[in-house]
Symmetry: C2
Subunit: 275 residues, 2 copies
Amino acid sequence: MTSQELFENIKKKGSFLCVGLDTDINKIPRFLLETTDPLFAFNKEIIDATHKYTVAYKPNLAFYESMGVSGWNSLEKTVNYIRYNYPDIFIIADAKRGDIGNTSNMYAKAFFDTMDFDSVTVAPYMGEDSVKPFMTYVDKWVILLALTSNKGAADFQYVTENNEKLFEKVIRKSKQWGTEDNLMYVVGATKSEKLKEIRDIIPDHFLLVPGVGAQGGSLKEVAQNGLNKKCGLLVNSSRGIIYASAENDFAEKAGLAAREIQQEMNKLLVDKGLV
Amino acid sequence: MTSQELFENIKKKGSFLCVGLDTDINKIPRFLLETTDPLFAFNKEIIDATHKYTVAYKPNLAFYESMGVSGWNSLEKTVNYIRYNYPDIFIIADAKRGDIGNTSNMYAKAFFDTMDFDSVTVAPYMGEDSVKPFMTYVDKWVILLALTSNKGAADFQYVTENNEKLFEKVIRKSKQWGTEDNLMYVVGATKSEKLKEIRDIIPDHFLLVPGVGAQGGSLKEVAQNGLNKKCGLLVNSSRGIIYASAENDFAEKAGLAAREIQQEMNKLLVDKGLV
């Protein structure tokens, strides 16, 4: 998918929402445990209930890996289900991968070839040759960690050399490795005051913004500081949507929670003159 | 496994070798493709042929993930096979994981609970709360990226603040998060001149050293700069051992390649007065 196609979907749906599929066997409704594949059964219902309001899904790999082979199987079925039923939705492998070149090649194969994800989150610590292999696939994306939403972000991401913080250096250097059509950045919503500074470095790239909702970030602030002329934002919500209810009505409640965010997003897009 | 137990195994075998299981379906002998599980069939033969000469195995997750569900299945069988047949061998999930706390918890569950790895490699970019969840398991280890062996290591790992490079800061800060019994560091053999400086910061921790062999690092230099009173090194070799031959004799040749390194290591341990 190109950035223009992603923007078209955003305009069509009046939404720049990404629904995080952090599907936890201990948090899904109990009655689903009687199905043959509870993680997939849960995801399928959530996807059917939320697809109208979202432009992206983001399975968090850790939750599937924690279940071993069966979890990996649920993940593959989830990706295939989205791709087959809602082909215009952007799918993110939230995997935080990154290794020496020949190993990153293998991760790229896993996510873009064996599975049909559109993008994968990548950690920048190992530098250029750990990131570029993901960019050799046409219409596939790297989503590089820049400034994360967690407390530990302060440990290393602000290390400063010549008045440039590490996360700024990561952005400045890596933007030469790709284009606005195959590279976006993770910027936590809990750091929304930093979004403006980051927009000065990369006015045109898409940003994936986690941390709205359960982690405390504000959607309005994120939009004020991060929206650009092609929207340029995917804002993720996981727990606030998928665990809106733990009862029989979990899918319906997830749909309502997604719609509520979509409506707020639509207003922000209208205010900005984008839809 | 404690660091003392690891050291006892090193002394017993006269080896601080780690065999990297970067098992690539396109590089294993053709006749194995007729078996029901080629990756596992290959690993089993390699393990049986090399276990006398090695104290650790390091499956590289990317190679298994690239095969999807079947690869994940081969991985689980490989870990179980090592654990059951050679229980004193240290098993490393070379996975380069790391995410916000509740997600790192799930990765820890995947590697230490669902599977029975002893350790997992972790990328430090997201800081303390992305690393610590892996240390809550008794006798399990984090192996944190410090200075990697690849070209891209130069992009960010040398960013310098107050005369302290990022990889040094990663080591100084993170050593407070764990102990010598649950935290080791990745230091590439291609940076062996830096090993001495790193030993000044962490004289007693174990280091996992990749990059000997195919990547060009020298075992002798690594030993000179890195050995400590409990050995303190695990030196990895992947391709040089497991792809020593692509014919019927692949396992035998892998065993010979591993034995050759073990003999060199034994001599280095004797010279240092450790065995």
